[in-house]
Amino acid sequence: MPSQIVSLVVNGEPREFIARPGVTLLAVLREALGLTAAKRGCAQGSCGTCTVLVDDRPAPACLIAVETVADCSVRTLEGVAVGGNLDEVQSSFVDNFATQCGFCTAGMIMVAEALLDRDPDPSEEDVAEAISGNVCRCTGYRPIMIAILDAARRRRGESVEGIEGTAPARPAEEAVSR
């Protein structure tokens, strides 16, 4: 099969490139377009570090043959901060110490963007479910969940002052009683 010209709308900009058959969306983003925020953690769809939004839905870019998403809209982490200003999810990740090594961060934030776009007031369970395909080896997940819940509050315009973000998954008394 010959290479073909594929077009995508990447972070709002129409882009065209020559793609070998079967080349992944991740390879196109990282190598052809120089968008390296999405990472290759496993190249087999099991870690979530390459997550981008395809037509507003989270997708593992490492598993997608780019010709199968021709003409789709693709959003990457590079497209999130407008004019260098961090959005609510990004600033919440910073403020809540939700990053350590940073390798899973791009995927986590893209999943959070998709979640908050469809549900401005997610529950803790909704957040856990949304990021359940994304591996983080550093944080233990809770700081990331707190950051996403806090981002939702920020996006809803609620004050971020005094939010401790420590809401336990279940009441402590219940858990300790035997």
């Binding site: 087999q44 110490f97 035997r178």
Partner: protein
């Protein structure tokens, strides 16, 4: 069929620095002409935050705002030697090297300020906002930007410093094992609360209480990251992880995250953490290393909680449902 709850404890210590020592790290620091201090290292940040910690140590020692500090790492052409980021050594070794370098630079900074202000260097202090001033006086002061410019263009001085930390290597006595393995020891106690499903053998960790004595929490938010992220890893080791599930048999090894199991965001316990600080005499502002130890105490605490819940003593990691069920069967005489 019941869900059985139990509580277990573990208390541990952990050594700071490469075992037996002999693991130096260096730091260089210099001021730009406008008073930004650049720390040059070859140290690696794996996510634990050594760049931030190095900047904090330098800012504290210099007496300047942290905004005046930049960290340049890790390039072997420009950065001086660092043994590496392992053995809970980064904060301790690099922190000490940075403090030594910054102290030397501060000495030069105060000497030049003394000349500029025509006072004795010993009578000068820094206020943490960028001013170097005569103790007890608001009149006689100079800002670090003006001072750095003057040092460079007027006095021909370089405001700089060199630092190294080395714990001399110890050699064990082969017969007895006598040795000096560590620089200091951090301490922890974990209490784990679990629920065991006696039908499926699944162990759920409900809550983890972690108390850590770490010398000094140089950055309490980042110390919290280590404790809570490490506790998750300990839980994961305890219940899920291995590359050889039927060790010593070599087969059935997981190849990816679909097969190598770890607790996901819906499986995490509530964590309650507390720090104590007993500063180490040889630590940077008293700090001990805690990067590694945070995964350790949760594992036996969970094992002990499982026993408390259901009477099964787990002696092989990980504590899979299969092992729990086999233990329950043995208790019921069905083995």
């Amino acid at each position: 069929m019941a869900k059985l709850r139990g509580r277990g404890y573990a208390s541990v210590n952990y050594p700071t620095g490469m075992n037996l020592g002999g693991d130096p790290s260096q730091a260089l620091i210099h001021s730009t002409t406008t008073g930004t201090f650049v720390i040059t290292l070859s140290s690696v940040d794996l996510g634990q935050g050594i760049k931030t910690i190095a900047a904090q140590c330098a800012a504290e020692t210099l007496g300047l705002p942290i905004e005046n500090v930049l960290v340049d790492t890790a390039d072997t052409d420009t950065g001086p030697h660092c043994m590496g980021t392992f053995a809970s050594r980064g904060t301790h070794r690099v922190g000490n090297a940075v403090i030594m370098a910054a102290a030397e630079a501060r000495g030069v900074m105060l000497e030049v300020a003394a000349e500029e202000l025509e006072v004795d260097a010993a009578d000068l202090e820094t206020d943490g906002t960028g001013l170097i001033k005569l103790k007890g006086s608001d009149e006689k002061s100079i800002h670090i930007t003006d001072l750095a410019l003057a040092a460079h263009f007027k006095h021909g001085r370089t405001i700089s410093g060199r630092g190294i930390f080395l714990k001399e290597p110890s050699t064990p006595v082969p017969e007895t094992g006598e040795m000096d393995p560590d620089s200091c020891q951090a301490h922890a106690c974990t209490a784990a609360f679990v629920e065991v499903d006696d039908e499926t053998g699944v162990v759920e960790v409900l809550e983890l209480y972690n108390v850590y004595e770490i010398g000094r929490a140089l950055n309490p938010a980042m110390a919290t990251q280590q404790v809570e992220g490490g506790a998750w890893m300990g839980l994961s080791h305890a219940l899920f992880e291995t590359t050889e599930p039927y060790y010593p048999r070599r087969d059935h090894g997981p190849r990816d995250f679909a097969e190598y199991l770890m607790p996901g965001p819906a499986d995490i316990p509530v964590q309650h953490s507390l720090f104590l600080e007993r500063p180490a005499g040889n630590g940077p502002y008293g700090a001990k290393g805690i990067g590694e130890m945070t995964a350790n105490a949760p594992i036996p605490a969970i094992a002990n909680a499982v026993f408390d819940a259901c009477g099964v003593r787990l002696t092989a990691m990980p504590f899979t449902p299969e092992r729990v069920l086999r233990g329950l069967d043995a208790l019921r005489g069905n083995a």
